[in-house]
Symmetry: C2
Subunit: 100 residues, 2 copies
DNA sequence: TTGTCATTTCGGAAAATCTCGTTATGATCG
DNA sequence: CGATCATAACGAGATTTTCCGAAATGACAA
């Protein structure tokens, strides 16, 4: 995905916040039983609640961050967990420092 | 200016291009007589022509980049020259790498 | 001063984005 | 299977952004 398209995804307060919350999920979300939020991630409804927006909106935002390559996802049972893609995020930060 | 607001300014193809063109102004613009584009910068009309947009639009975009702190400006005679603020740009790239 | 040129500001139409409610899909449980 | 729950996809109204043309500002030159 091109730099400009990633920038467009990031240039939104709620989406940027999601990415930042996920740096320390334990600080910002209450965990599901037996789920390590750092290893597995956080599910859509948890993000929706924290955003104070509908589940529909949270799902869209997470999908946008996913398509931008900044998150990864894993489905476990009925839940879909999202977490940061640290490698891709670091790569993007480097690209910014170079291209900007 | 907050990170999110700078991101919004950058998340636009024409504005991002302006910033990138200004990395090598001699490669992208034809100079005014006796004006060192690296030292002094590039004027609004030059950018408008390169963008293939009106001078009004170019002026607005340059102003947005200026307010974001990414450019500096200097008026000489009837021309207003804009150039990159390398220190601020580097600072922003660092902030991104940290906050992202 | 008057005229001209570069730039900025203002107002608005078209396009894009935001965010929602609703519906559809997929998975689990009884 | 049928019911339920989490998520994704769809469609739409409200808001924001984009980009323009016209009018205002500021600087120089005659």
């Amino acid at each position: 995905m091109a730099t400009i398209d990633v920038l467009k995804v990031l240039a939104s307060e709620p989406r940027l916040r999601i990415l930042q919350w996920l740096k320390e999920p334990n600080r910002h979300f209450s965990p599901h039983d037996g789920v390590d939020m750092i290893e597995i991630g956080v599910c859509v409804s948890q993000v929706a609640q924290k955003l104070d927006m509908t589940q529909s909106t949270a799902s869209q935002y997470l999908t946008m961050l996913l398509r931008a390559g900044l998150l990864t996802t894993e489905r476990i049972g009925k839940y879909t967990y999202y977490k940061r893609n640290e490698v891709a995020i670091a790569r993007f930060a480097e690209a910014m420092a170079k291209e900007l």
